[in-house]
């Protein structure tokens, strides 16, 4: 089932009468293709959960429309939308066993949809098998680990065979190891069921690793939508570039002068066709290549060997933040004696952003491929990004 959001806006009234209303989501336009796993990504308060709750029907949008396939569900109450929702804290009923929890939504079916007890048990077992908790049907939520509870919550959401599965921060209550395991599990379950799934997260790694598409949001405004890799490789603006990737992109004060991109006095890259202007320059940690004749001259502060690769910490007068963090191949030798390290920049890993708006400026060397759904916020509404 594809999900279409048309110009979706949600405003909350201020708490006090005089207070201005808060716009949580602003003009969200997007079509989620059938059977995809989509991650809504953004920092706290960016409107991603609000969007999710509007799709599920617990919030009514202030304006705009929501379609499931061809059906307009904007005014349809949640129980008739055919959505399954997995809550951040799972919201499992503590006084019921796993089986009773999973069966609970089936017990609400009335009239011709009403199921026999045996049929309900069979469907519950099926859902439990899918999430691999069929051994634990008689436990209560309190007797289970966070990861197991999470699976029960997913089974409960799936048992009704929803048209759309929604998950609010599905992994945030799990420890680091379980999180890795569970996100693979979510991916597997989504593939097996083929249900269009939308999940909300503030963890970019989580979103990047399992999503077919990610939607990056900030202050209620969609910044960029696309495949995880293409959003990472080709960020629409400075915010998206900074939000994706660990360690984060290194940002410099820079400028374009006669077709060259400068960081301080160093001309680091070609910028043909760009007018002279002040810009922000972003370089991914993996975009630094040590080169004795490289244009970017930094003072070396430290080298951390991390097995597979080496993390080099250095400083440059033009940098934003406290240090430059670059990751280089373990084979490249770094001469620590001189206290100076020179880099050349890997094409496609350097970005220039407009100084005022933060919008990405075109640089050569970006091989655009497979960027089919990419949609840039900058084209629709500018000025909201920094």
């Amino acid at each position: 089932m594809k999900v279409v959001l048309k110009d979706l806006t949600k405003k909350f009234p201020g708490r006090i009468k005089k207070e201005e209303e808060v716009t949580a989501v602003s003009h969200f336009d997007f079509e989620i293709p059938d059977g995809k796993l989509v991650g809504l990504l953004g920092p706290s308060g960016c409107g991603k959960s609000t969007t999710l709750l509007m799709i599920c029907g617990l919030y009514k949008p202030t304006s705009g429309k929501i379609f499931f396939g061809e059906d307009d569900v904007t005014d349809v109450p949640p129980e008739h939308r055919g959505v399954g929702l997995v809550f951040q804290n799972y919201a499992l009923y503590p006084h019921m066993t796993v089986e009773q929890n999973i069966m609970f939504p089936l017990g609400n079916l009335k009239g011709k949809d009403k199921l026999s007890k045996e049929e309900m048990k069979r469907r519950a077992l099926e859902a439990a098998k899918l999430v691999q908790i069929d051994q634990l049907m008689d436990r209560r939520p309190g007797q289970m680990s966070g990861g197991q509870q999470q699976r029960v919550a997913i089974a409960r959401a799936l048992v009704k065979m929803p048209r759309v599965l929604l998950m609010d921060e599905p992994l945030s209550n799990l420890d680091a190891r379980l999180r890795l395991q569970t996100r693979e599990e979510i991916r597997r379950i989504q593939r097996e069921t083929g249900i269009t799934t939308i999940f909300v997260t503030h963890d970019q790694e989580e979103a990047m690793s399992i999503s077919d598409l990610i939607v990056v949001m900030k202050d209620g405004v969609v910044q960029q939508i696309g495949k995880p890799q293409s959003v990472y490789d080709d960020p629409a603006n400075l915010f998206v570039a900074k939000f994706l990737g660990t360690p984060p992109v290194n940002v410099f004060d820079g400028s374009v002068r006669s077709g060259k991109l400068y960081i301080g006095p160093d001309a680091v890259y070609d910028a043909p066709g760009l007018p002279d202007q002040k810009v922000w320059v972003g370089i991914r940690p993996e975009g630094f290549l040590p080169d004795e004749n490289g244009p970017l001259t930094c003072s070396l502060k430290g080298v951390e060997v991390m097995g597979r690769d080496v993390s080099v910490i250095s400083e440059h007068p033009g940098m934003q933040g406290s240090a430059i963090r670059s990751i280089i191949d373990a084979q490249s030798r770094v001469d620590t004696g001189s206290g100076v390290i020179r880099f050349r920049v890997r094409p496609g890993k350097i970005y220039a952003f407009e100084y005022e708006s933060g919008k990405t400026l075109p640089l050569p060397g970006l091989e655009k491929e497979g960027n089919t759904v990419s949609w840039r916020a900058g084209e629709a509404q500018s000025g909201d990004q920094n």
């Binding site: 599920c56 029907g57 617990l58 949640p78 129980e79 008739h80 959505v83 399954g84 929702l85 809550f87 804290n89 919201a91 009923y93 503590p94 006084h95 609970f104 939504p105 017990g107 609400n108 409960r156 009704k160």
Partner: protein, 296 residues
């Protein structure tokens, strides 16, 4: 370690002395009196020991009357007051407008003096040479025949007593239940709503189990409180409850000690021990039943 132990005992002394002197010692004393025939508190003598006191009170019509009154009161008021409180608390938690006002109104009986409330009930229910009471006026207005609730038939007196008791215990229950309802995580309701759960099913399958420890607490304390009823009956019917036929077990104990026919600590003690045994039994039964239905 040794030192700490001594210190601990030292700190416990004030509480232990007071509890021992005013709680434990009298309890033991009451137990002993109940088996001493004709104990005289002035001389400290008795005629002998045995179960004579129990035998006597169990054949005393006043005690049997008190026992019957108390049981009726418990069986009628505890379920009704808990049920009504649950309804009102649920209503209070569902409304938005004027919520605080209603909460205050429902809490008012709790802070009102028992005797003042008794007086109001007299005005509502009592027949006097000048008026038939407000309730009787209403009954006759709608075409019924008035009845004397205070000095009339037994069912009418029992009705007033139960009505009064339910009304006076509800504020506390509503208060406790309102906060219990408020502490149920909203996410459970949202989850149920997304799954299309009807409001009756939400209440029975989610809300009620979630607040079951609180409901259970109210039932236990309700039982104990109702078994100890006395002041409310005095407020309604005056101090001579035996004559009014509305005595309770605690009232009987008091009358045996200090009433006009008083001065019998042995009988009073035996009645107190019986009351204790009854309350203990009921509480144990409650605890056993609760194991299946209360979810902590």
């Amino acid at each position: 370690m040794e030192n700490n132990n001594k210190k601990a005992w030292l700190y416990l002394i004030p509480a232990a002395v007071f509890l021992g002197l005013f709680m434990v010692y009298p309890l033991i004393d009451v137990f002993i009196y109940s088996f001493e025939e004709g104990y005289n508190s002035a001389s400290g003598n008795s005629f002998g020991t045995g179960i004579y006191n129990f035998n006597y009170i169990l054949h005393d019509t006043y005690f049997l009357q008190a026992l019957r009154n108390t049981f009726l009161l418990v069986i009628i008021t505890v379920p009704l007051s808990t049920g009504f409180s649950l309804l009102i608390a649920f209503g209070l938690s569902s409304i938005r407008a004027l919520k605080n006002l209603f909460q205050t109104i429902y809490f008012l009986p709790y802070v009102t003096n028992t005797l003042a409330v008794g007086l109001v009930f007299m005005i509502l229910f009592k027949k006097t040479p000048y008026s038939d009471g407000l309730v009787n006026a209403l009954i006759t207005f709608f075409g019924g025949t008035g009845v004397d609730f205070i000095e009339g038939p037994y069912w009418a007196r029992m009705f007033v007593t139960c009505f009064y008791t339910i009304w006076i215990v509800m504020p506390f229950k509503i208060l406790i239940l309102t906060s219990a309802l408020a502490s149920v995580d909203q996410n459970y309701y949202n989850a149920a709503k997304v799954d299309g759960t009807g409001s009756a099913r939400i209440f029975l399958r989610i809300t009620l189990p979630m607040i079951s420890p609180t409901v259970f607490y109210l039932i236990i304390t309700g039982f104990i409180g109702a078994f100890k009823a006395y002041a409310d009956e005095v407020a309604l019917f005056g101090t001579n409850l035996n004559a009014a036929g509305m005595n309770t077990i605690v009232g009987y104990i008091y009358d045996m000690l200090y009433g006009d026919s008083g001065g019998y600590p042995s009988y009073a003690s035996a009645a107190a021990i019986l009351l204790f045994a009854i309350v203990l039994t009921i509480t144990v039964i409650n605890l056993l039943v609760s194991r299946k239905h209360v979810h902590y």
